[in-house]
Symmetry: C2
Subunit: 195 residues, 2 copies
Amino acid sequence: MRKGDATRARILDETARQAALKGFGAVSLNDVAEAVGLSKSGLFKHFESKEAMELVALEQEFDRFVEFVWTPAEALPPGRARLEKIFEGWLDWSEVERAAGGCLIMAASIELDDQPGPLRDLLQKRVRQWRRTLAREMQALRDPPLPDDEVAMAVFQMKSYVLGHNDARRMLEDASARKAARAAFGALLDRLGHG
Amino acid sequence: MRKGDATRARILDETARQAALKGFGAVSLNDVAEAVGLSKSGLFKHFESKEAMELVALEQEFDRFVEFVWTPAEALPPGRARLEKIFEGWLDWSEVERAAGGCLIMAASIELDDQPGPLRDLLQKRVRQWRRTLAREMQALRDPPLPDDEVAMAVFQMKSYVLGHNDARRMLEDASARKAARAAFGALLDRLGHG
DNA sequence: ACAAAAAGTGACCGATCGTGCTCTTTTGGC
DNA sequence: GCCAAAAGAGCACGATCGGTCACTTTTTGT
């Protein structure tokens, strides 16, 4: 069964890649199968349906995100340095990840925000979970900790800058996007720091 | 020929509605035709291809955006009040517009950012144009005007908050999204005001 | 080495995709 | 009211969609 696991992993990779590029709705089983060197029916030995395949691919993408963005930051002590590490890792992720397709999570968030189903449910669950993680890190910035609504506002702004960076970088092709995002986030931390 | 124009307008409306809901790639001529009460082939009397139809629909969506967000603000004198009006109008647009589908422009930006073609070209052109408009308004905030890079940063943050609001509102279903966006933008204007 | 289980193929299904064609109905200018 | 032109219907096309099934090949545990 080890051979099968490797194939399964390649299928999931390719699914995530194509979903980031063209959207989940536009992923074709034929294209995925061809890209991994399988026949279309071969896919069904690993997943019972296209939707099930996409669900696992999205789940795996979140795991990869956590490992890429969170795990390196976890080594640092809670506080500003850790938050900056998270932020930089997040920007890296949306630039580097999946080669040309951009961040699958952001793309899926917009594509699925009005299409009920298991994909949307998973997305909502994990994105909320990530937001709680960010809130916890924000609270570690100050002692005594910030009130909840101020933390929520800070998290809102942090995520906004990541989204803005993605938009500026990918759609506008603005080379200074990262500088702007970094400056905005730094200023946010400054404000929180000596409030 | 007036009858034809009315039908054409309904086709474009429906195309934009479905594109906002499911993405341009997932719009089906059959669905559009059915929704406007036409046969599929009837669509081709108004547009020579699906892509041409989508292109006009997107163009019209930008015109609508300008009228909805910019035109009401234009009545106010340049400065903070006008910028606040723009920002509020922008948030309204992304909440109200197209009923359930969210803002087509944001959705298309993410869907098409890596898919070359006329749709992407149009998108890029109009989004850049809108950004220049915002920059001009930001410059009117101070006398002497802000340096260009500070203006660019302010525009970056403004758009980021709109994107963040959209994400929080639609994906996270966070009822306080608007409050957070408004607070963040107000603070940005404060910083710019007495810099 | 051998059998069982897993992995993968190819043909095929009904549905739907975008699009072209011919034909009929409707509309607007005179 | 007539007539050309515009608007639209209906059908069929080749391609592709997700998915099934019977069959063959490969891998794995023993």
